[in-house]
């Protein structure tokens, strides 16, 4: 526990360290699978084939990097916003161990092929149980801290945190319901189209409760801290919050357009996806309007760039997403490379940029020092953005091109291109994507180097004062 502040930040440091490690693993595996799609010789059976590595990539990215960082930052934010120390620092330390155990087990069991096959819910039931224990510990600790808070009013970030805690719990429990056969094998409790509908209710709300509400909680806290001006509208924040968590739950079936799931479920999903633009953009505008008279900070304060680009990609993501949810457009781009383009604009441009910003903000404060190099942070920023744009843009073009070819029909009703003719057209784009991934990887190394240097200067105890001008 920090004697000055009374807050215990050790566990935040621990989670940050490990989330960065898992983030690196996720990107390394991402780059590997992007090369496997070009050079199938890079599959090393049985453990390291594309089919087994892709879930390792998504799990390491979403759970290791994403959730790991959220845990770090939620503990930090909650203590500040409640003005009370963590309810149980011991439990939080145990949670860090359990978290790492779960991620390691996830990687090992997925490589061995223990897989429930549902996207983002691949882990087999024994690991699922550990995940549930992990989440309960986390939720109880955060919630108890909130219960005994010294600040009556709960700031927006805390609502998003609470929504995340209950939302993830409900989703995870339902979609992982299964009939175990052995320790490493189980069957889903639901069958066929029911199973699909439950899965995408889960899948899309994993986007809501893991890739949207936690980064928003982080954005709403660290962004005003960084700029030094409060968020533009509290009222808009409230309305956006309630409508966001209301609408998201209706939209799962936009992943199932044109499938045997009943039409009315699909239509509801499509309609709610479109109205979801409003609460999503309310947060975007809240960010932009807060910058009124402050835009000069984009040049002067490197961190502001991360936040503003991050919220901008969130804005683009929440326009593109609803478009994909429209039946006619879905008919075209569903199942193509367009979708990984969408996914990575969100994952890299929105979620990761916000997490980087939070980490850059936190590390110097946690280690009582200054950031080692703002120049390197800027280099990291630009390379990450360029890598991500190459990734997304090449995949959008690839997706549209393949879709156009797949749907091309001759006058006599036969198909104009065979499947392989469409696939061979994709190779150049897959090369570009892999190149974008490598650039992104380089940016990540720069980031990690910068953070290590910063931590070292802090633990050397050289300069206990910080003066980033951003507090």
């Amino acid at each position: 526990m920090d004697i000055e502040t009374g807050y215990s930040d050790e566990v935040t440091k621990g989670f940050l360290t490990w989330s960065i490690i898992w983030g690196l693993v996720a990107v390394l595996v991402g780059v590997l699978i992007s090369f496997q799609l070009i050079f199938p010789q890079l599959n090393f059976p049985p453990f390291l084939t594309y089919g087994r590595l892709r879930p390792i990539h998504t799990n390491a990215a979403i759970f290791g990097w994403g959730i790991g960082s959220f845990m770090a930052m939620f503990y930090y934010i909650t203590q500040r916003l409640t003005r009370s120390p963590i309810w149980s620092p011991g439990l939080a330390r145990f949670q860090l161990w359990l978290f790492n155990l779960v991620i390691i087990l996830a990687a090992v069991t997925l490589a061995m092929g223990f897989n429930q096959s549902k996207e983002y819910a691949e882990l087999e039931w024994p690991v699922d149980i550990l995940v549930v224990i992990l989440w309960v510990i986390f939720a109880v600790n955060i919630f108890m801290t909130i219960m005994k808070r010294k600040e009556e009013q709960m700031y927006i970030s805390l609502w998003y945190i609470i929504a995340t805690l209950v939302g993830v719990a409900v989703l995870y429990l339902v979609n992982n319901a299964s009939i175990p056969v052995s320790l490493s094998k189980s069957y889903s409790a639901f069958a066929g189209a029911n199973d699909a509908n439950v899965q995408w209710w889960y899948g899309h709300n994993a986007v809501a409760m893991v890739l949207t509400t936690p980064p928003l909680a982080i954005f709403y806290y660290f962004f005003p801290k960084t700029t030094g001006v409060p968020i533009y509208s509290h009222r808009m924040g409230i309305i956006a919050f309630w409508s966001l968590i209301f609408m998201y739950l209706w939209t799962g079936a936009h992943h199932l357009l044109w499938t045997p799931v009943p039409d009315w479920v699909q239509t509801l999903a499509m309609a709610f996806s479109l109205v979801l633009i409003a609460p999503s953009w309310a947060s975007v505008f809240n960010g932009y309007f807060s910058m009124n008279g402050q835009w000069h900070q984009m040049r002067e304060n490197f961190l502001v760039k991360f936040f503003i680009f991050g919220i901008t990609f969130y804005g683009l993501q929440t326009l593109q997403g609803p478009a994909q949810a429209v039946r006619t457009f879905s008919a075209f781009i569903h199942y193509t490379d367009w979708v990984p383009g969408h996914v990575h604009m969100g994952a890299l441009g929105w979620v990761s940029l916000i997490l980087f910003a939070g980490i850059y903000y936190l590390v110097p404060r946690l280690y009582h020092t200054q950031l080692y190099s703002v120049k390197l942070a800027n280099a990291h920023f630009w390379l990450a953005v360029i890598g991500q744009l190459i990734y997304s843009i090449s995949m959008w073009i690839a997706g549209v091109q393949q879709a156009a070819m797949l749907h091309a029909v001759n006058p006599d009703g036969s198909l104009h291109y065979s499947f392989m003719e469409t696939l061979t057209e994709l190779y150049p784009y897959w090369h570009m994507r892999a190149g974008g991934g490598v650039i992104y990887l380089v940016s990540l190394f720069i980031f990690i180097f910068n953070i290590i240097k910063t931590v070292q200067s802090g633990s050397a105890g050289a300069a206990p004062v910080r003066a980033t001008g951003a507090a």
Binding site: Q36, I38, P40, N43, P45, T49, Y50, G51, F114, N115, Q116, S117, F143, I146, M154, W159, I162, A163, V166, G167, V170, V174, K185, Y187, S188, A189, F190, A191, G192, A193, D195, N197, Q199, W201, I238, F246, L249, W250, T251, W258, T259, V261, P262, F272, Y335, T336, V339, L406, H407, A408, V409, N410, D412, G413, S414, L415, H416, S418, F419, L423
Partner: protein, 297 residues
């Protein structure tokens, strides 16, 4: 009201749960009443046999669903490509009632497999799984030669029981001694095979006079050669001397008959239908090429 919530965490928590549960109830819980309704049953669809189920589990273990979907959408191009020859061969609810979990997938890096059963002979699958590029040169599918290892059958009965599928002792016995590859191929051959989409497909007639428009045309021979190498060589051999399929260079049948065979395929004999994938013009070019090779050594 909203301002009150900001000061009462328990109330906020409960309110959030209620708000989340509204959409959940309507779009996730309620559809259980409509989906898998008995009236949507398809008579031919049977539970998996022990061997097919083991194959399905390997499909899951290897994550084939990361590259392959198993739903044909009711779109012109989807039906023509993945349920060729039919007009309503797209996927229906009743096909999936025994699928726990569903394997619809979200990405088609490779083609849809919902109707793969019966499209190719077992021999094709064996070779293709072992080294996809030996059959389809530019494929990026991983090689699965290691599936030739013996199948672990210790859990087979338990799995059948867990899913409530019927089985006979003879079926269980038959699984013993099989390889994982056998199981995988048995599963692939079942996909879409117990659904009546093919009957409609077979009925689609070839109308009009069957006369080769590109007969003797030298450019057509060149085009036909390329088409042959891409679509036929894997089974009939690069030299037309046969492999999985017959030696085409030795056939003496009239062109019109060859054309209808290629157009409609030979169901259950392992000759796929190319009518939808290639169209008449391209098929005639291939036939022209084959004719040009007749009698050549």
């Amino acid at each position: 009201m909203l301002n009150l919530l900001e000061k009462k965490p328990i109330l906020l928590l409960l309110a959030a749960v209620v708000v989340i549960m509204i959409g959940t109830t309507v779009t996730m819980i309620a559809p259980f009443k409509w989906i898998n309704d008995p009236s949507l049953k398809i008579a031919g669809v049977k539970p998996y046999t022990p061997l097919q189920l083991e194959g399905r589990d390997i499909y899951i273990r290897e994550g084939c669903n990361n590259c392959h979907t198993q739903t044909v959408r009711p779109l012109v191009a989807d039906v023509a490509r993945y349920a060729p020859g039919s007009t309503d061969g797209y996927s229906k609810v009743g096909e999936f009632v025994y699928d726990q979990p569903h394997l619809w997938g979200s990405r088609r890096t490779g083609p849809d497999l919902a109707r793969i059963g019966g499209k190719y002979p077992d021999a094709w699958h064996n070779k293709h799984m072992e080294e996809p590029r030996s059959m389809v040169p530019k494929s990026n599918m991983p090689a699965y030669a290691f599936l030739k290892q013996p199948l672990d059958t210790s859990l087979t009965e338990k799995k059948m029981k867990a899913l409530g599928f019927p089985y006979t002792p003879a079926e269980l016995e038959a699984v013993k001694g099989k390889t994982e590859m056998d199981a995988m191929v048995a599963y692939l051959q079942k996909l879409g095979n117990d659904i009546p989409w093919r009957k409609a497909a077979a009925a689609a007639p070839l109308v009009g006079e069957l006369k080769n428009p590109s007969a003797g045309n030298a450019a057509a021979v060149t085009d036909g050669k390329k088409l042959y190498e891409e679509n036929c060589a894997q089974c009939h051999g690069a030299d037309l001397k046969g492999d999985i399929g017959v030696a085409l260079a030795e056939l003496t049948k009239p062109e019109a008959e060859l054309f209808s065979t290629v157009y409609q395929g030979m169901e259950r004999l392992g000759m796929p239908a190319f009518g939808d994938a290639l169209g008449k013009e391209k098929i005639w070019k291939v036939i022209t090429y084959i004719s040009s090779r007749k009698g050549q050594k």
